[in-house]
Symmetry: C2
DNA sequence: CGCGGTTTTGAGAATCCTCAAAACCAGTGG
DNA sequence: CCACTGGTTTTGAGGATTCTCAAAACCGCG
């Protein structure tokens, strides 16, 4: 189940498939060279595999190159809360890198490919390229801002609004990093994942999903959700587009 | 209502009342000197005053010296979600500093005194003292970790657990930074604040508070909550103490 | 004393939950 | 090729939690 494998380097940073996306800021040659040395290899994780586990101390920090994952926490009796999803360009493991033990787990929703960095070397990045250090803080602040929004949803939106908001949000993010690329907008999650993100029961989540499916806003197909009408979904969610400058990534 | 006033500098960083608390890491002389120049003044805000407003762009970044505040977001129809509380030693405004417009607001729960920094100079901090830049990231990661925990609460805990958890958490944090200091553990919030933090209605929050009050775990007095039995509160919350190394602050 | 903000209580209703079971579906091994 | 299995989705039904509405009580303050 927990099939991770360290593979040879397939993507040198100079040929990073993400770096030319317009949502990401451009890196200088120097920065790219540094990151290239900072990168220690690539890790592939199977669907369902655990990338990072709560309570452990992992020597690595990762940037997602390919695939989907989710970040979650558990209560002792097994109740699970998914706190965020992660996709290409996202950094995972920063919290553990800085604070010691991981306070949450990360699991793959699809086969993944990750860039591997050494946590011990992070400070050297700040020393060598302050702007990259600043970028890492930027990335952490962005995560914070996403969590604020999720908390607003779970605390104050109705089940239907919550679901619409979550799907809109995931779809927008995924589109930005090219996960759809013209193809249908399919999100590789189960309704149990949705339930654990929204703070709802599986049954009620299903009934809510059903409503959106009847309205042709989405459909459920082979273990995933396909967004059919993002626009109406965003209306329902009370979506207010927030424009950000190109974001950094490493 | 929005009474802010820029005051003369009362606390030079060398005499910062927080810097010797054991929850905070020690700063080198160089670092302290730099921070001292980085600090542009002090700001005092009345109880109920707005420190930062969602949708605006503020040229400043603050560290709280004295007082309590909360961070919140609003939906267009007025529903409010409090996402976190802030107290001495906490940095506020970082998200706006990095990403542009504020995505949340910050309001004072008590009279406050804040250290004022210029957002434009933040990058210089990374350049001059990479370790301090690293610290800022640390602070952001800590906020992230708190938000994860809040999300777990709101999404997966019952009303009673949620309330017990929230109060335990606030009390622990406040104690760490010396807000009680032997005195009774009084938290200057209304039940409306609790409700908006927990994602509950005011009425149901009140009924839940009542239960804890009947069990002598807390009592409500002159516009605030006094914790009477933190230990039992933590039991109820399923509290698992997490030990962190001394945390940075600037 | 009156006022605004806050806390408290009651009552009925909506949302959301749990339990239970069936339907569906892809993969596995016989 | 089929039966079986485990995971996922779907549906029904009754019940618990939480909500809204409404009003009263309380309390510091001008």
């Amino acid at each position: 189940m927990d099939t991770k494998s360290r593979s040879a380097r397939v993507y040198p940073c100079q040929k990073c498939p993400l770096k030319d996306r317009k949502v990401f800021r451009d890196l200088t040659g120097d920065e790219l060279n540094f990151i290239s040395r900072f990168k220690k290899g690539e890790l592939s994780v199977d669907k369902g595999g655990t990338v990072l586990a709560e309570g452990t101390r992992n020597p690595h920090l990762y940037t997602i190159l390919k695939g989907w994952a989710f970040r979650y926490k558990l209560l002792t009796d097994g109740r699970r809360q998914i706190v965020n999803f992660a996709m290409p360009g996202d950094l995972v493991g920063l919290q553990g890198t800085l604070m010691g033990d991981m306070q949450h787990s990360v699991e793959a929703l699809s086969p993944m490919l990750l860039c591997v960095f050494e946590r011990e070397e992070l400070l050297r990045l700040y020393e060598a390229h302050p702007a990259l250090g600043y970028d890492v803080t930027w990335i952490a602040a962005r995560e914070e801002s996403i969590l604020d929004e999720n908390l607003l949803s779970v605390g104050r939106r109705s089940a239907l609004e919550r679901l619409a908001y979550l799907l809109s949000f995931i779809a927008e993010r995924a589109r930005d990093v090219g996960l759809f690329n013209g193809r249908p907008m399919e999100i590789p999650i189960t309704q149990q994942h949705l339930a654990d993100t929204l703070g709802l029961s599986l049954v009620h989540t299903n009934k809510t999903v059903r409503k959106l499916a009847q309205g042709k806003l989405l459909r459920w197909r082979d273990g995933g959700c396909e967004i059919l009408d993002l626009e109406r979904l965003e209306d329902l969610a009370g979506w207010s587009p927030v424009e950000f400058p190109p974001r950094p990534f490493i």
